[in-house]
């Protein structure tokens, strides 16, 4: 007698089960197939090509009416099962019941909906089935229609690309810092974002959806940061969770999914489960490869054969035509793991392999994924890769058994391989130049133009020299920024501007960084370069700043902080002094000191008190003195004409004006100014970064002084007649320094490299350039001249500065 098999869900997993089962035992089963969707099994993963118009629904049907008829399957499509009666072994839909000997639950997943206001407005959909896909296709019919996709993971991006291909204007909102963060690292995420933006898709990372707006229908999406995107259609693709409702009601054992054993049997021996709805060994499944393995096991179990399900590694590809992306295995940083990173900025190629114990355990690839399956094989098989380590990243084509010569990969490159992307120079051209007598990088640059433009291929050119000339070539030792790159600070600065690199992942990708997220040496420098060069585009990264700049206070050797309010030009008054004294009392400040920069330092403040003391000082009109910053510190002044009998100009007034103009600006290193009222120089202006000495006929401006580890007198930049000109020159000088100096070079060190004459040519003689520098400085100030104390005297900041948890009381019990 035929046994009765009831299947709930006609999805990708149950389709496979049917094939295996009916192939082995065509006449053994009387199958009833329920499906909530009004259709049978189709290839869900191909919905994206249907959405983009590259395929039709008919193309993706996997089991058609003929198949069901031939196997006499009782199809109950459009009927959702609402109850399982385990005692009597019957399942029910609203239209009636069906008895079973064996039951297979294959209900897949339900998309997650973030419960923001407006999530239930018409026009808000998820992306899971053919109906969703059709709804999006219909929405795109309206000319000029706009879509917002919430979620920048696999599904969201496929939806976005599909909608764009249908002619909609598309914005993707993604909560995390980079796209597809579960499959990609920041570098690959950056390349992906660049590719999508090049197609005209707007990408908004770090965007938290606050509400979906509209009256009868969706009209727009509002983010936490206030951004609003107009939308005729919103697609939420923020994640899925196993569809377990009927199993829960039937009191089957449930974790996050329906719990199954290795045979895919649930806690009820007559009920099996398969697909995304199951949980096996605490693991859930969201890709089809493991589901197909499960399907084989389900069929075997039903046939009373031995089989056990074992999860396999999965690999991901994004099905967006023209985007090449591959990720597999585990690519998190960890101890004992090593990275091999390859970047070809000119072609937008990024490859990263993660190695542990001489085995490949993870791979991320962007732009060129042809070798993906070969790497995936190495991961799955746990192959020992020690022998091919040096050339591994070049893929199977270079595994000729040449051994461990680090230059082998370059030596193995074909002659038509492009080395210099800027000038289109192939390896062959360089080799013939070498054969013609070139022996140095300079020769190659002069003769072929290779590495003569952006310079990023310098290393490769040198390797071609080394592999062609052998011992006759000595690799030069430039002083690179840090271990993450071979480029110098100066090169990096130049390339950031020349190639308009506006984010940290952009710099790291385009300039071939060797680590995935930099280090404590390069990140603070890059953060400064980017904010100085692109004040409007770049977002300051607190986590790439040293502790003092992150916490806006100077850390002391015992872990407490010092707090210094600004006293403009060294001037203060009883009200401010009272506020400082009150704060010192209230927060039990152990030491109060007058600094060398004419202000008052409160030493020994606990970190969690910082936002409170700032709020108190703010209330008295005091703002941060930036005593901790690589930025403008103080403008020291003497009393000048107001009180001193020798004074020639209002030195205090000029000092205050300069400080008000320059405060809050970030610079490569700290910047200190002083203004003295006469050559007696009571403000010690001649050892400052910029020092102005007033004389009867005007103002003498000196630059590049130092009174620290090095002692140096300022050099005369210019003498000007008016106060306005003195201010202009000072601002232009600071901006020139901001734009050109190496991070952590004080102005005197930078001047020693570029020369005073060059600086004079830029800002004293070239009036247009002076004006342009001032304009750029002022633009930057519109963004960065903010009191960091006022910004942080908020409940959120208070919470951030406090310990995450205090267990001292509990542990004492």
């Amino acid at each position: 007698m035929k046994r009765k098999l009831v299947i709930i869900g006609a999805g990708m997993a149950s389709g496979r089960v049917l094939e295996h089962l009916l192939a082995a035992e065509p006449e053994g089963w009387d199958v009833t197939l329920f499906n909530a969707e009004p259709r049978g099994n189709y290839n869900r993963i191909m919905l994206s090509p249907v959405l983009s118009g590259e395929k039709t629904y008919q193309d993706i049907v996997t089991h058609d009416d003929d198949f069901y008829a031939q196997h006499k399957i009782n199809c109950r499509f459009g009927e959702a099962v609402v109850r399982i009666d385990r005692e009597n072994k019957v399942v029910y839909s609203n239209e009636g019941g069906a008895p079973y000997d064996k039951l297979l639950i294959a209900t897949g997943s339900a998309p997650f909906i973030i419960p923001v206001p407006g999530h239930d407005l018409p026009g808000v959909i998820t992306y899971r089935d053919m109906d969703d896909t059709q709804a999006m296709i219909d929405a795109s019919d309206k000319p000029g229609a706009k879509a917002v996709v919430i979620g920048g993971g696999l599904l969201g991006l496929e939806a976005a690309a599909g909608l764009k291909a249908r002619g909609m204007e598309v914005a993707v909102i993604h909560l995390m810092g980079h796209l597809m963060e579960r499959q990609l690292d920041p570098a690959a995420g950056y390349l992906l974002q660049k590719d999508l933006e090049a197609r005209g898709i707007t990408v908004h990372c770090k965007g938290a959806t606050k509400a979906i707006l509209g009256t009868d229908r969706v009209e727009a999406v509002l983010l936490d940061d206030g951004t609003v995107y107009d939308a005729d259609q919103v697609c939420m693709a923020v994640g899925i969770r196993p569809e377990v409702r009927i199993a829960t009601d039937a009191a089957l054992e449930i974790g996050r999914g329906i719990t199954v054993n290795d045979q895919m049997v649930t806690s009820d021996p007559d009920i099996l489960a398969v697909g995304e709805c199951v949980e096996h060994n605490a693991q859930l499944f969201g890709l089809v490869a493991p589901l197909y393995d499960q399907a084989k096991v389900v069929a075997a179990t039903l046939l009373n054969k031995d089989a056990a399900f074992q999860p396999v590694q999965t690999a991901t590809k994004l099905k967006v035509t023209g985007v090449d992306l591959f990720s597999a295995g585990d690519f998190a940083d960890a101890n004992g793991r090593e990275d091999i990173v390859f970047r070809d900025p000119a072609r937008g190629v990024y490859k990263r392999l993660v190695i542990e114990d001489n085995r490949l355990i993870g791979a991320v690839m962007y732009g060129e994924t042809g070798d993906g399956s070969w790497f995936f094989g190495l991961i799955k098989d746990g192959t020992d890769i020690s022998d091919m380590r040096d050339t591994l990243i070049f893929g199977p084509a270079y595994q000729g058994g040449t051994g461990a010569d680090p230059l082998a990969a370059v030596a193995a490159l074909p002659l038509d391989a492009e080395i210099c992307g800027c000038n289109g120079i192939c390896k062959g051209t360089i080799v013939s130049a070498i054969e013609g007598g070139a022996t140095s990088l300079a020769d190659i640059k002069a003769q072929t133009k290779a590495s003569a433009s952006c310079g990023t291929c310098t290393g490769l050119v040198e390797q071609v020299l080394a592999s062609t000339l052998g011992d006759a070539f000595k690799m030069p030792a430039a002083q690179p920024m840090c271990g993450c790159t071979d480029l110098t600070h100066e090169d990096v600065r130049r390339l950031i501007k020349a190639r308009e690199l506006k984010s940290m992942p952009a710099v790291m990708q385009e300039l071939g960084w060797k680590t995935s997220c930099g280090c404590h040496v390069c990140r603070p420098a890059l953060n400064f370069y980017l904010l100085a060069d692109w004040p409007e585009d770049y977002h300051d990264d607190a986590q790439s700043r040293f502790v003092n700049e992150r916490n806006h206070a100077n850390i002391q050797k015992d872990g407490t902080y010092s707090v210094v309010p600004r006293m403009w030009g060294g001037m203060t008054n009883p009200r401010e002094l009272r506020a400082v004294a009150d704060a010192a009392d209230k927060y039990d400040i152990p030491a109060v000191k007058v600094t060398g920069g004419q202000r008052i330092d409160l030493l020994g403040v606990k970190k969690e008190h910082l936002p409170d003391i700032w709020a108190d000082l703010n209330a008295a009109g005091l703002v941060s003195g930036h005593a901790y910053s690589k930025g403008l510190r103080t403008v020291k002044t003497c009393v000048g004409t107001d009180f001193c009998r020798f004074g020639t100009q209002d030195s205090t007034g000029l000092g205050i004006k300069l400080e008000k103009r320059l405060w809050g600006s970030w610079t490569p290193h700290k910047v200190k100014l002083a203004v003295s009222g006469c050559p007696r120089n009571c403000a010690e202006a001649t050892c400052k970064d910029v020092g102005i000495v007033c004389v009867d006929s005007g103002f003498e401006i000196g630059v590049g002084g130092a009174a620290g580890m090095d002692l140096k007198e300022t050099e005369r930049l210019a003498k000007v007649a008016t106060e306005a000109e003195a201010i202009d020159l000072t601002v232009a000088f600071v901006q020139l320094y901001r734009e050109h100096a190496k991070y952590l070079d004080r102005p005197y060190k930078w001047l020693a490299k570029v020369g005073l004459e060059w600086v004079q040519a830029q800002i004293v003689e070239d009036m247009d350039n002076r004006a342009a520098l001032i304009k750029r400085f002022d633009l930057s100030q519109t963004i960065y001249q903010r009191d960091p104390w006022a910004d942080r005297a908020t409940p959120q900041a208070r919470a951030d500065f406090a310990p995450l948890a205090d267990l001292t009381k509990e542990a004492a019990e």
Binding site: D333, H520, Q543, V547, K557, G559, P803, L807, E810
Partner: protein, 115 residues
């Protein structure tokens, strides 16, 4: 708080710590620094640098390592070992993430680093 019946103690949300950042948890034995790395893993180590006591929670986080803010010693967040030429180590504590919450092993926190 689940304390003291359970070993795993919920000390806060993952999002309370910025990526590549850290926060401290106060214990009777001193502060423990809880780090969130760029790839969203959490690690807990003593907040005192063995060199001169620098607060490691205030260092720059890169990969699975942190650089001490005072004199730039670099420590592995996984093993607590100083990297490169420097010698020394800090205690590490079991930490994990579940459903967006950070869990630390309460027993280890009470026993402190010495045990």
């Amino acid at each position: 708080m689940n304390w003291p019946n359970q070993n795993w103690l919920d000390i806060g949300a993952l999002n309370d710590i910025p990526q590549r950042g850290a926060r401290v948890v106060k214990t009777v034995h001193g502060c423990v620094a809880v780090f969130r790395t760029g790839d969203d893993q959490v690690f807990a180590i003593d907040d005192r640098c063995p060199h001169k006591g620098g607060p490691l929670s205030e260092g720059i986080v890169h990969g699975h390592a942190v650089t001490c803010p005072l004199h730039n010693w670099v420590f592995s967040l996984e093993t607590g070992m100083a990297q490169g030429a420097d010698e020394g180590a800090v205690a590490t504590y079991p930490a994990r993430i579940e459903g967006g919450r950070i869990l630390l092993d309460a027993k280890r926190l009470i026993r402190g680093a010495a045990a």
